[in-house]
């Protein structure tokens, strides 16, 4: 904008501007003086001042227009500028208008006071008096001239020439001349001997002379003197004329001139009265306009300069409000506004520093949170956090692995809601919910439930969370699947039992058997037939039971002894089909569903064959009706590892809930002759091969077992 392009300092501009205004007005004021040499420049000065006013008006209008635009755009500082400019204009305009009004009034009254009827009359009277005086002199000279003409009448030209000299001497005239009606000079006499020719009348005088036969008038003479020219006819036929030039005394001439000058001056002033008023009013108006417009324009510049820091402050504040804390405003002046700007700069610097610190702290917190989340995600224990109303806030990956449901997808839900969606987990979830609601302190409890992978035992530890003011803010539940751990402990215990049994029981069996056989050998010949038979029957029973006990102890030993695996790559499908072929004669009806005909696993074929035998025999023994066994092979992935999942389902009586809990424990059997080690050995072998086995509780048409083994290669699907 225009004001922003001004290079000069505002104060210099203001001084220059007012200097020009004052100079121009002073020149115009001087030009109004009649005596001033500037009078010739009056019109130009008037035009220059008017142009100056127009230019200033344009500048003011432009500034006002700019201000209105800024107001419409709601630019920073525009309202303050408008308020200050309005106030200044009001304060400047009101007294200026009052001064102008009264100045014009005084001016008009002053000019009017110069003129009144008495002065008019006095001036007229003075002029008339002068004219009367001159006319009286004129009348006297006319009479005198006529007397001289009478003396010359009817005389010859020679006599006239002789008398003209004496007449001139007696009359006191400057010049006497007699000329014919043709203008020929007949005689003349003058006070100045050098004047050879008299002052003859011009054409205008001749015209009047011929009309009126006489002529008299005042003539301007040489050297600013005034003359009376009187011409009368000497003869009745106007053949000859007498012209006499009488001088007017210098004193009379001066007085008459003075009166005439004053009269004319007064008349002129009276005539110019309205023009004077208009002219002075115009000058006053120009003075007012120039001063006011210059002041308003300067006010615009000054106020904008004053408001500039405020404007910058408003912009800076808006920038800070928008989050830009790097705002540093220039300190233009070391005044109060400069102090304010400096304070603003300090404030933004502090805010920026605080923001950076807060951001760094937030980043640190975020890093910590991410770190904790990473730790939580990699924990083997499941962690679920709850808010005060026991809605799930977070859950880690292990929770999904343990519970087999994506708990993290249920953030914002409660455990009972989760239980309704997953009925198989209803027991454990409701149990945890109950504990959460009741506990006021850290609690720990083992919870056993029947999950999708069979019986599971969770070790749960809950911690209620409180705020600094003691209000409950939520809780954290940490749980771990200790099923395998418990099972391992049990297995170890059973292994120890078996080892001790083998050691403590098997050792005495051999002497018992030998002793019985020796008794039979020694006494059978000495005893009678009846007693000998009895002895034989007794010793045979002892030997048979000892043998039975030995086999049982061997089985225990087998179970307790670590297996010596001969691991090799075998095709599980081929192995299953081999085992199935052995049982076909027994009438078992097999059905298979293999996802591939080539499933290589690294395993001991003998052990794996025993697993299959045990499971099939177990199904065969549990079935009274024609036995149907369905064998399925599928590929599953768990923890980024591929497994082959082998399912064996029968159509037997199935397993009740009590059996499910102890089905893989040793010495657990529902059969009269069973040792209860079949499934325990199966589980032991599967786990020694890195696999898992569990009862498929979702199968209700009999008993179903699912076992997973790491697969080396899984062929294409059929």
């Amino acid at each position: 904008m225009a004001y922003s392009k001004i290079k000069l300092p505002a104060s210099a501009t203001i001084i220059l501007l007012f200097g020009f205004v004052l100079l121009s007005l002073q020149l115009m004021s001087s030009a109004t003086q009649e005596s001033s040499e500037l009078g010739e420049m009056y019109s130009w000065l008037l035009v220059i001042n008017t142009l100056g006013s127009v230019i200033l008006l344009g500048l003011v209008a432009f500034n006002a227009y700019s201000l209105v635009r800024e107001l419409k755009k709601k630019e920073a500082g525009s309202r303050l500028t408008t308020r200050m400019v309005s106030l200044f204009v009001l304060l400047a305009l009101a007294p200026a208008a009052i001064v102008f009004y009264f100045s014009v009034q005084f001016l008009h009254q002053g000019i009017d006071s110069w003129f009144n009827v008495e002065i008019d009359r006095a001036m007229d009277d003075a002029l008339e008096l002068s004219q009367s005086s001159l006319n009286q002199r004129m009348t006297w000279h006319i009479k005198q001239t006529k007397q001289m003409a009478d003396q010359l009448r009817d005389k010859s030209e020679a006599l006239i020439a002789m008398e003209v000299g004496s007449l001139w001497a007696d009359s006191g005239a400057l010049e006497i001349a007699v000329f014919s009606n043709q203008g020929r000079v007949l005689a003349s006499s003058s006070v100045n001997p050098s004047d050879i020719l008299p002052h003859l009348p011009d054409e205008q005088i001749w015209l009047l002379l011929r009309q009126n036969k006489e002529y008299f008038a005042f003539d301007p003479g040489d050297n600013d003197e005034m003359l009376v020219r009187i011409i009368v006819a000497i003869e009745a036929d106007q053949s000859r004329f007498l012209q006499v030039l009488f001088p007017i005394p210098v004193r009379v001439t001066d007085l008459a001139d003075s009166i005439e000058f004053a009269f004319i001056r007064y008349q002129e002033m009276n005539f110019l009265r309205d023009s004077l008023k208009t002219s002075f009013s115009l000058i006053l108006l120009l003075v007012l306009l120039l001063s006011l417009l210059a002041a308003i324009w300067v006010a615009f510049i000054s106020i904008r300069n004053i408001v500039a820091p405020v404007k910058e402050l408003v912009k800076g504040t808006q920038a800070v409000a928008d989050g830009d804390y790097q705002q540093q405003l220039p300190v233009m002046n070391q005044d109060d506004l400069g102090f304010l700007v400096e304070s603003f700069n300090q404030m933004t610097r502090r805010i920026a520093r605080s923001r950076d610190e807060t951001r760094a702290a937030g980043l640190e917190v975020e890093n910590q949170r991410a770190y904790l989340e990473t730790i939580l995600a990699n924990l083997t224990a499941g962690v679920i956090s709850f808010d005060a109303a026991f809605y799930i806030r977070t859950a880690n990956q292990a929770a999904y692995r343990i519970l087999h449901i994506p708990v993290s997808h249920f953030v914002g839900e409660t455990l009972p809601t989760l239980a309704t969606m997953h009925s198989e987990l209803a027991d454990v979830l409701n149990a945890i919910q109950s504990l959460l609601e009741k506990a006021d302190d850290i609690w720990e409890q083992r919870i056993v439930f029947l999950g999708p992978n069979g019986r599971q035992e969770l070790l749960c530890r809950g911690t209620p969370l409180f705020s600094q003011h003691g209000a409950r803010t939520g809780a954290v539940v940490v749980f771990d699947d200790v099923t395998d751990l418990i099972q391992a402990q049990k297995n170890a215990a059973w292994g120890e039992v078996a080892r001790r049994l083998a050691h403590e029981i098997k050792n005495p069996l051999t002497p018992i058997q030998l002793s019985a056989e020796r008794l039979q050998h020694k006494l059978s010949k000495e005893l009678q037939d009846g007693s000998a038979v009895f002895l034989q029957r007794g010793t045979r029973t002892i030997v048979q039971q000892v043998e039975a006990m030995k086999r049982m102890v061997d089985d225990f030993s087998e179970y307790a002894r670590p297996s010596k695996k001969q691991v090799e790559k075998i095709n599980l499908v081929d192995l299953i089909q081999e085992v199935m072929a052995l049982y076909l004669p027994s009438g078992i009806i097999f059905s298979t569903a293999f996802a591939s005909d080539r499933v290589l696993v690294e395993a001991d074929p003998v052990s794996l064959r025993q697993v299959l035998h045990n499971l099939i025999k177990n199904a065969q023994e549990a079935t009274t009706v024609p036995c149907r066994i369905e064998i399925k092979i599928a590929k599953v992935s768990r923890n980024n590892t591929d497994y082959v999942e082998l399912g064996i389902y029968d159509n037997g009586n199935g397993l009740n809930a009590e059996q499910l809990e102890t089905i893989f424990d040793p010495y657990v059997t529902s059969k009269a002759k069973g040792t209860g080690l079949g499934l325990a050995i199966v589980k032991k072998i599967v786990e020694e091969h890195g696999g898992v086995i569990w009862v498929d509780t979702s199968y209700n048409d009999g008993a179903g077992f699912l076992l997973q083994l790491p697969v080396f290669e899984f062929g294409n699907f059929k």
Partner: protein, 175 residues
């Protein structure tokens, strides 16, 4: 002697603008002299100002031009200033001629007639004019507002009753 064709151009004048009735070149022994007649018309306001003592001044400009394609070339220029004033004491009109001479007249019409008949006795050298080229004689009279009393000047520029000047009148000069 060169004969002059008096054919004034079309002009637009205000009600009281002066008009140039005719202008002619007269051949003398020393060259050419210009004679013209101007019809001055005073508005009532101008007459009132005159009788109240205001001096009225006109500047008669006489130019000899050679017509050109884009503009005319001025080959001679002469300015003659006449002023008219009322002498209240003698009740006469005084005309100040450009030849430093004052003439007094009993009537306004006589004074105006005197001013109307302009004869510029200062000769234009005959060498300035070539017989085979066309020329224009241009005359105008300019009322000098700047010699009016100062308070009257702004009004004189705005009030057409003070528009007493003539426009340019031109006459082609032919042999």
């Amino acid at each position: 002697m060169l004969c002059l064709q008096l054919a004034p151009g079309l002009v637009k004048a205000s009600d009281y603008a002066a008009r140039i009735d005719y202008a002619e070149l007269q051949h003398t022994d020393h060259g050419y002299t210009v004679q013209t007649h101007i019809d001055y018309r005073l508005s009532p306001t101008a007459k009132e100002a005159l009788h109240k003592g205001v001096r009225l001044t006109w500047e008669v400009t006489i130019e000899l031009r050679q017509p050109g394609v884009l503009w005319d070339t001025r080959i001679h220029n002469r300015k003659l200033t006449y002023s008219l004033q009322f002498h209240a004491l003698l009740n006469q009109y005084v005309v100040q001629t450009p030849f430093d001479r004052s003439e007094m007249f009993l009537t306004l019409s006589a004074a105006m007639n005197f001013m109307a008949a302009v004869h510029d006795s200062t000769p234009i050298p005959a060498e300035l004019l070539s017989a085979d080229k066309p020329y224009l004689l241009a005359v105008k009279t300019q009322f000098n507002r700047e010699l009016l009393p100062i308070p009257l000047r702004p009004v004189a520029y705005l009030d057409n009753r003070w528009f007493l000047s003539s426009v340019w009148y031109t006459w082609p000069i032919q042999k």
